[in-house]
């Protein structure tokens, strides 16, 4: 009776729900969750990446029954988690370089298979490689593509906060247009990051035809956990890109990390979807559509768009981007898009304001 009624106080959006059967609760709700990234790390207050990493790696720990190893690219996550003499990780973890996490992951996967085979052990530890958007979409892109192409048994997780935060908020190829970074400052006739630049790595990953590609957000834990678990049910190359707001880099309140991530989803700014073998198989629908201004106004990196002096044309252009995302990814309605969606950068480049 209690389980049969599925309309709970909170639907499925809170982290846990005491009314749910424990087996149906999120991994993060468990008192005995792995806490793979433990307290005492040196991430900034309200760090979305720290949150996203614990969410994802805890879920993977559960999916692999603790048989998990991590290769971590250089970046905030690496720096704040393992400054000598303290590590915040509770699972086997290695940091090698900025641009090689995917390749180190491939090597780890080889080693795990070979060791298990030699030992006559069928239980092969699984491998996750992870990094920020800089380490993934820019400097680590070659090794990432190589890992995809070889279909190496590695799940690569990109914690996307849209800039090089560790080095002081410089633009990456994941920085959205018009956003302020230290290398795309709010000066000149077109302040912020240029329009018509950047790349959509999830779609590029799909173009490799790998078994699983997904985007996720720290604002939808259950979706995130589901995707990590699903990713771990596949062998071969997999890619998950998680939107992890950076209060420092985005100029939002440290308390707004989850809120701003949620608005990125609900405005269509950041489409959340999954793809299997190159095809989109599900889309996280927007639950309460909001205008993109609600997302932008929480962040000082867009201060030039939201204040009194804001350029309505630029704002309209960002809104058009979101609307196009909603349309092409089918973020509203019951449909899952049948064609492979087009990277939003194409729209940027195609459009003249």
């Amino acid at each position: 009776m209690l389980d049969a009624i599925k309309f709970y106080q909170t639907g499925s959006k809170t982290v846990g729900n005491r009314l749910l059967n424990p087996s149906m609760r999120s991994n993060q709700a468990s008192e005995s969750r792995p806490n793979t990234l433990i307290s005492g790390h040196r991430a900034c207050q309200g760090c979305g990446e720290a949150l996203g990493a614990r969410y994802a790696i805890d879920a993977a720990m559960r999916a692999t029954n603790g048989q998990l190893m991590i290769a971590n690219a250089t970046g905030c996550l690496e720096v704040f988690s393992t400054p000598y003499p303290e590590s915040a990780w509770r699972l086997p973890w290695i940091h090698s370089l900025f641009g090689n996490a995917a390749a180190v992951g491939s090597g780890l996967a080889v080693a795990a298979r070979v060791r298990a085979k030699k030992a006559g052990n069928t239980n092969v530890p699984r491998v996750i490689a992870q990094g920020g958007d800089g380490g993934t979409t820019d400097i680590g892109f070659g090794p990432l593509s190589g890992m995809f192409e070889r279909n190496d048994d590695v799940l690569y997780i990109c914690y996307d906060n849209g800039a090089y935060m560790n080095t002081g908020v410089q633009r990456s190829s994941a920085t959205p247009p018009a956003a302020r970074t230290a290398t795309t400052q709010l000066v000149g006739s077109e302040p912020g990051a240029d329009w018509g630049k950047g790349k959509n790595v999830p779609l590029i990953a799909m173009a490799h035809g790998i078994p699983y590609v997904a985007t996720a957000s720290v604002a939808d834990l259950r979706d995130l956990e589901y995707k990590v678990q699903k990713a771990m049910s596949y062998h071969g190359a997999r890619y998950i890109q998680i939107l992890v707001p950076c209060p420092l880099g985005w100029g939002c309140a440290s308390s707004s990390t989850v809120t701003v991530a949620r608005l990125a989803m609900e405005t269509g700014f950041y489409p959340i979807f999954e793809a299997e073998y190159g095809k989109v198989t599900s889309v996280r629908k927007i639950t309460q559509k909001q205008p993109v201004i609600n997302f932008l106004k929480l962040q000082r990196r867009y201060a030039h768009l939201t204040g009194k002096k804001g350029d309505p044309k630029v704002l309209a252009r960002i809104q058009a981007m979101c609307d196009e995302n909603i349309k092409s990814f089918g973020l509203i309605g019951d449909e899952v898009p049948e064609t492979v969606p087009v990277a939003i950068q194409a729209l940027e480049r195609n459009q003249t304001v």
């Binding site: 009776m1 209690l2 049969a4 009624i5 599925k6 309309f7 709970y8 106080q9 909170t10 639907g11 499925s12 959006k13 809170t14 982290v15 846990g16 729900n17 005491r18 009314l19 609760r25 999120s26 993060q28 709700a29 008192e31 806490n35 990234l37 433990i38 307290s39 005492g40 790390h41 040196r42 991430a43 207050q45 309200g46 760090c47 979305g48 720290a50 949150l51 614990r54 988690s81 393992t82 000598y84 003499p85 303290e86 590590s87 915040a88 990780w89 509770r90 699972l91 834990l221 209060p247 309140a253 440290s254 308390s255 707004s256 990390t257 989850v258 809120t259 949620r262 639950t287 309460q288």
Partner: protein, 542 residues
Amino acid sequence: MMNKSFAATLNPATSLANKTGSWRTLRPINVFKLPPCNKQCPAGENIQQWLYFAGEGDYEHAWRVLTENNPLPACMGRVCYHTCESKCNRGFLDESVGINSVERFLGDYAIEHNLSFKKPTRETGKRVLIIGSGPAGLSAAYQLRRFGHTVHILEMAAEPGGMMRYGIPVYRLPRNILDAEIKRLTDMGITIECNHKVEDILKEKEEGHYDAVILGMGASISTNVDIPQGDTTHVLNALTVLGDIASHTDIEVGRRVAVYGGGNTAVDVARSLRRLGAEPIIVYRRNRDKMPANEEEMDGAIEEGIQVKWLSTITNAQKDSLKIEKMKLNDQGWPEPTGEYEDLPADAVVLAIGQNVDLSVCKKVEGLQTEKDAVTIDKETMQTTVAGIFAAGDMVPGTRTVTAAIGMGKHAARGVNAYLKGEVYKRAEKHEDAKFEDMHPWYYTDAPKTVRPQLELARRTQTFDEVQHGLTEENAIFEARRCLSCGNCMECDNCYGVCPDSAVIKLGPGKGYEFNYDYCKGCGVCAQECPCGHIKMVPEKI
């Protein structure tokens, strides 16, 4: 053990040595806010909390929490006008939680499962006399008994219950329900002596060696208005009619009966008469907007085919008909005569324009101060101007509803309890209000598609059948789970989950959470993402 490299290789989980709590400038704390339903409830029920347990399916626990404040949930689940629901924050999202129907479900559950109140663990030996066994008297008796006092109730009628028995129609409150809940009280050791009209309060107190008295005689006299009448038209009063219906079920009033008044009593009379086959018509001097009667009750009346003559006063009762003067509302919303008249066919008129307190017995007590239609009391302690004599219910100034009477009875009992200990009762300070703005509605909005029809079903059941049928267990849980838990923890694990520093400790079911200030950096994500507004960030002491 591995032969680990110097410095470049670290042992796991060693970051625990780094107490990041020192970074904090703001500190999260749990705050307990007053949910609007609790605030609104005249009986002072902790609605949010009992819904919490009801939602878990722990009905007994829910019932026990409920009955901390109200010993008559099965009755109240039927007759309370549940103004709590009008304040429910869920109303901002979709529709209010059907609190009243869950209360009834719990009340019925307790009767069905023979749940009883716990007897006091210790007898104080103090004796308290309660005059009147209506909701105020019963509530006061219950609370006093829980304190361990000896309680005796004197009731002038043949059976206990006051207005619940003699005022409220059976279709709203079946008497077996009332009997069951009163029996549960007498099982606690409360004694009720019926057919005993008190003529001298002090004498009763002295002779019975009572340490204190609570007056709960109610407002038992119907207000009269002078309507010139011919000899063939009956002019009756509402309480007599309702009392007769309650005692004899079948009475002869007439076919076409005008019920004069716009309050709940008028509606009760009209709907009762309708059930007896009459064709009642309510005559009211103002319009629907200004009508004090409960809206749902009035809707029910209209659905049952009861006619209403709005903006009308009865000036004259003649044979087979009434003379009605049409009214209009002035700017203040008060009726003014228009000088236009019409005839309304009617066999009888039932006056339902108010009730009065019989203050004659009170006036015999020296020093017991009264005011217009009420006994003067200290609003905090419910004590009258005479030490040791307290009053509650319709006798004292305030709202005259069963629920309010229960609340007043509770406070009178607490006033007495403090008095018996030589103290002065001071009501607990209320928490700050849990406003809708404090909540995080995003977390509540979405119902899985497959379940959505159940919502509609539940709401229909609740609104359509409320009087006649209670909720099924399924619907009761459903309703209870719709509670937003305003301002109070519902153990959703959000704070525990969203902390980037794993600095929230989950203590286990029913135990809530603790902040780990060793590591909490004070980012405030927990506070911002708490659906209930239960976490507040306060400046760290430096």
